[in-house]
Symmetry: C2
Subunit: 482 residues, 2 copies
């Protein structure tokens, strides 16, 4: 948020807004009291009050009677949430590759307002300590690490991953973990282990386009399941699908599905596990957003609830600390030998030093406080983005309420064409993800995804404003045509 | 070579042998003159002469009249070279995965004499300068590199690769290069770009088992071509195969085929290119050993000779400086968009900092002298290994004469079973690669490959002695059974 700093009260408002923007002041936390701030900044009470009222007007702070000022808690938006999706009941071959590649190209263009790919900005992740671990590993472990590692990956890193997983009830030994080139290779290897070309894999709809791209590359067909933006897939639809055709596997998000932000409640996860076990269909889960939860507790992944060893678990460090290190992992249970064979054949093993550095980084502590810091920022960004969408987009726009992660999904009237908006937005230097790339069957052209992975800024706020204005114009034109 | 150092002349012999072993004195180079060595080490001429004669007896040095002593040039061995291979004329589905994984496991076991996998020892590669580049990159480029890179890889690294390729006549722009996870991912992506599951790819026979494993993982059938240990595939057999069935692609080594060490002469390479262009069959070439040439000039790869853009070129830094960094590359010409799409889908992109470090390492010079140093050592190792095989293996053993790389291929009488030897050798703590893993059709069980990728040592020499003795026993037993 940009507050022009001409007056002392504006200076103070800018200062407080920055603390909120960079996550120093978390959403819902108490702002410094007026008395404290007057003493610290040597200003009068009236100046401080003027600043706080300005921030209240801008939705940054909220006053609570008898208690003081608090960082506004993603204030209850008037926008509705999207309806349960209605994808086709038949499997579809996938073809999203071209657009996936384009979106990642745009994500590397600093001239574009970054609402497209869900890639946290490097500045926000502040991985200096990890980089120092890498410099150190290169100095002292260079000789030991200049080998082909165990294809499972660095043993120390696997120990750290296993140690962390205990916190959410996942009992995996270091030898059960295969370190991969990001979550992408984890998902690819998991898919290869359970599905062959031509097979059908059931997925959430909408779902992450990178996952669709991997399925396309492997020649696997997608069966898109109706999915609720809060609680995930429609279990009756899944049961129906399992009865009516051969499904090689299911692939669901553990929590905070990208793009919906949906998370199945634990009893629903248990029911899914039961159902799949009865039909002997393995489940691949993608837990890449699991660590970024806004609630009090990290949702448990399927694997932590699965007593039958029917789950393949995929995750990575790309959303939380190091997209540039390309380190993910896969826990494949009894399918580990197939996974390792495939990994040998396709990439042999990953580079040793970045893994050793990450092991050192995790072992030396501070990762949890890092996670809390970035989660506060993402939560704040989601709140700001929701607010900005409410202001800028036409009435009737529906928006998700994710309880984790850093993406928002918008649903507009059917007449809206997100590809048309995409072209218009790109011309104005703004990138976002149009809805249909999240579907194998080309659904959701009237939807779009906004990434909230960069620190909130006036540039981003203006980007959303422009998107909203363009959308309004497009909808007006289309209703005029009718 | 171990020379017990009881006397002064033995001390000197040990000193000179060490210089030869570690490559300080290259094969064919002049040893210090007797006069020099007397002055340097303050010994008498008779002591020096006694040492040099000992080394002459041991085959380390050779005296040339009127000229002095020289490091023995892999003295003409009496062993014959293997016959042209005779694989089946029909395509075969591949199934080598299990043993490939096992061999790589053994390669990580320091208790085994390392004659199995063709992985240079980290000590020999001495990549300290590269590791320093990585430490530096982590310190100063960490923030810029904590992103998903262009899937092509680091732009600086691609410029350095393109710059080097100019030396051997390969005109590729940096944008035509895709950086990969070692040569393995390069080969995988190249195969995916030109062949589908069920397709047939024509290969040399014997060939690298990792390549067979990749073909197995991709469901591609292998058509093994008769191959000469000096000059590569039988071009008439290739022509016959092209006429009689659909071949999706050919996959040949550019130089120093693993395991034979064969290199097609340039006119043969041109003839292969003509033939493939006529039949519209693309060629994938694997140039991973190209930089390790013993002759005066680096052999030119197919791509440098191909005017029709029909070649996909694969290579890597794994054999020359950094197996642990996992950096290879692929030049795919008009097929680059498919390759990039596939890379996006399967691994997204590689880690940024190791690539930036390698770019810095190449740009800062010294790589060519590094290559000359390690090539001298590999050449020396090949000579020593040939000599050791001649001493230890039964008469009639045939052995290749590679002009580059660091592997030797041995052919024994048909009665010999390299898998039986493998089990016996493993029990004695020695690893090598049995012949049949180099063939999709299980040929070459009477052959074996010895890797010469570690500095020559008494342990390695004794390992070869033991292998030879076991082989002799096995052959005697089998002829006794008849």
């Amino acid at each position: 948020m940009r507050v022009q700093a001409h007056h002392r009260y504006e200076e103070l408002a800018h200062f407080i807004a920055t603390l909120v923007d960079n996550g120093t002041l978390a959403v819902g936390s108490r702002a410094p009291s007026l008395r404290q701030i007057c003493r610290q900044r040597r200003i009068s009470l009236s100046t401080a009050l003027q600043a706080y009222r300005l921030l209240e007007d801008r939705g940054v702070l909220e006053a609570r009677p008898q208690s003081g000022y608090y960082v506004a808690r993603g204030r209850a938006t008037a926008l509705k949430t999207p309806a349960v999706s209605r994808p086709p009941a038949k499997p579809t071959p996938v073809a999203v590759a071209g657009f996936h590649v384009k979106l990642l190209d745009y994500a590397r263009d600093p001239a574009l307002v970054p609402l497209g790919c869900a890639i946290p900005s490097a500045g926000l992740l502040a991985a200096t300590r990890l980089d120092r671990c890498l410099a150190r590993a290169a100095r002292i472990k260079g000789l030991d690490c200049n080998v082909y590692t165990d294809p499972r990956g660095d043993a120390g890193l696997r120990r750290e991953i296993a140690r962390r997983a205990v916190h959410w009830g996942q009992a995996i030994g270091p030898d059960g973990i295969v370190v991969t080139c990001g979550c992408t290779e984890a998902l690819t290897l998991a898919l290869c282990a359970v599905a062959h070309p031509g097979d059908t894999v059931a997925i959430e709809s909408p779902t992450y386009f990178g996952l669709l791209h991997a399925m396309e590359a492997l020649g696997v067909k997608a069966l898109e399941l109706p999915t609720d933006a809060a609680t995930g897939i429609d279990i009756a639809a899944l049961e129906q699908a399992l009865k009516s055709r051969r499904i090689a596997a299911c692939l669901f998000a553990s929590s905070f599905n990208n793009p919906l932000g949906s998370t199945m409640p634990e009893d629903k996860k248990l029911a899914v596990l039961d159902l799949l076990a009865r039909h002997r269909v393995p489940l691949i889960e993608d837990d890449i957003y699991g660590d970024i939860y806004f609630g009090a507790e990290r949702p448990r992944p399927f694997m932590a609830l699965d007593r039958r060893g029917n789950t393949l678990y995929c995750s990575s460090f790309s959303k939380t600390v190091a997209p540039g290190y390309r380190v993910g992992w896969l826990v494949a249970g009894s399918r580990t030998p197939q996974v390792l064979e495939r990994k040998h054949a396709l990439t042999l093993c990953g580079p040793a030093l970045p893994q050793a550095a990450l092991a050192d980084f995790l072992a030396s502590g501070g990762y949890d406080s890092h996670l809390r810091r970035i989660t506060r920022i993402f939560h704040h960004n989601i709140a700001r983005m929701t607010h900005a969408v409410e202001k800028a987009f036409p009435a009737g726009t529906k928006v998700t309420r994710p309880a984790g992660g850093f993406v928002l999904w918008l649903e507009l009237p059917r007449a809206f064409d997100s590809r048309e908006l995409f072209a218009a937005a790109l011309a104005k230097g703004i990138c976002f993800a149009p809805g249909d790339v999240f579907s194998a069957s080309g659904r959701y052209r009237h939807c779009l995804r906004l990434s909230c992975a960069h620190p909130w800024s006036a540039r981003i706020e203006q980007g959303v404003e422009t998107l909203g204005a363009l959308t309004t114009q497009m909808l007006e034109r289309s209703s005029g045509r009718k």
